[in-house]
Symmetry: C5
Subunit: 156 residues, 5 copies
């Protein structure tokens, strides 16, 4: 049975992992979830690598960087290390970050974080179990958390 | 027989991989294409590494980052990880990114993405099968997607 | 018995490691502390890796970058290398940096550095011994050094 | 016999490798040159690593990034990956980049690219065969492509 | 007997390695110095790794980036690769960079480069032979090349 690592943080202000796991389970049953919570986004990469060593086939890394300029730097560092962990292990890490500044208020932030977590979880599911669903949407202008923008046509 | 990995995304708004594969096939027949589609550009590096482990001799990584400042950061991170995967495996990754902001409208974006995908695909072919074609154009000022700028001469 | 590496610098202006070790010891007794001091934050990553090779299960890396723009670059470089060391060893590195510019004066800087060192030390303890404490606070909006901001609710 | 890898690009607008190889050969005969041309600067790192695996003792990586801001990002990424390849293989990569914006016109660009390619080639030669030539100029303020600035003295 | 690698560049405008080696020797005799000079700061990381493979227990990497914006990028790249080499080998690299723009004139530049080289050399010595000297100054606000700023107190 496949194993999906789901890692989130105590820094985030929405329980994104909860929505992600529900979304995963809404799709099927052929997998086991390995859950872990770390303090912040810089703790996600090593947690993913550890879950890979425990047998995870894919990790979903959920985080919510703050609004300050320094938070963007931290997110950049965390992203690079998530990429490093994924390439090193040759297993996918689906990064799902929501920046506080992306939403206009707490309610919008909650809704955005939920939708994005769910949609990245479905992408994770597709990567493991339904690669053809992704292939069918190649170049389709899909988005996570916001409406899809769609493909551009050869002529307007 | 050589194997060429071709990876693209559902985030992109043009089916660049389709044009790339056609361009590859227009050149010859001594290779097999391994196709894969992932959600976004940050998922490309691990997909390349996995295709290398499945026997690919070269990977073509196609992506279309959005217009926002953050999209540039994501593209930078993805590029670094593509370079890491290539050096780690000692096999070429031909990166083909088209930024939405490079074109003035949807029609121009489609044309640019198509041309660049085709021209990077021909470069990929040359790297594997016709290294002398590249050597002959050393310092030739070639471009992909836009017109070649040509070499500069010693005297004007 | 678990081993916790605690590394700090002579560049910092507050003895953060002292506060961190006291906080760790206030929590329990099932671990041994491996202490080391290096000149600056760029010396932390290799010190962590060396402590991992000596048996540390987790490292706490404490540093205090200066106010200048160049200090931010150094902190960024150090952070990336701390992440690299952690992923390479598959063991957590808890980074605890305090930027001089974060506080309005020496007294505030001292208080901030102390609180953040203590709170990151408690996070380190939780990662090793109380993962459920972290899981219970997933998405809880916790902060280190400043007051927690809390979770955002679905409706205001 | 030592082997020197020389890699350049079809993107560059001057055949820098040609000048580099002539400069190398003007110095001596105890080496063999392994030539390769790739499309752009991001293709240089993996080419260097492949030449190292084929026996190169040092690689000279020649490239000419364009004028746009994005070209600087690409050069930065390529540089990091060249450094990664060099450290990984424990063999020197001499990077020789000329930015189009460094010169005021085509003639000046050609002259700069030629001089810099030649001077980096001589550095490559010195690294392999004449380390004492470098040691003698430690702290000497040498430059490649532009006039040397010289050492600063204790007193003016 | 311990071995200390000392690497500098022909790009620098002060013979920092000379001052560094004198400072090291002023401290004791239980070590051997492995000297090497490379063209520029980007050549330092691989030189350090090679000296580690030849038996160095620590490397001191001395460089002097120029004043231009691009020089800062080069220094950043070199720093990241020095950190990579150090973590990979699990041996310390003490980076000692002096930026030309840090000093108001040639005389000041010379004095700054000398002091910083000497003080980083003493740090290198302490890392290998006198770790307690560093531990005693944890959080002490020490600086290299400029006067120490000292610790901040709990109350003013």
């Amino acid at each position: 049975m496949k194993k999906i690592g789901v890692v989130d943080t105590t820094f985030a202000r929405v329980d994104m992992a909860d929505y992600a796991v529900r979304a995963l389970k809404s799709r099927g049953t052929g997998f086991k979830v390995l859950r872990e919570t770390v303090p912040g986004i810089k703790d996600l990469p090593v947690a993913c690598r550890r879950l890979f060593l425990e047998g995870a086939d894919l990790c979903l890394a959920l985080g919510m960087p703050g609004k300050a300029e320094y938070d963007k730097t931290c997110a950049h560092e965390a992203s690079l290390a998530l990429l490093f962990a994924a390439v090193l292990e040759a297993k996918p890490v689906v990064e799902c970050f929501v920046f506080e500044g992306e939403a206009s208020g707490p309610k919008e932030l909650h809704a955005l974080a939920r939708r994005r977590a769910e949609e990245h979880a479905l992408n994770a599911y597709a990567l493991l179990f339904r690669p053809r669903d992704l292939a069918r949407n190649a170049g389709g202008g899909l988005r996570q958390g916001f409406p899809d923008v769609g493909a551009v046509r050869r002529t307007r």
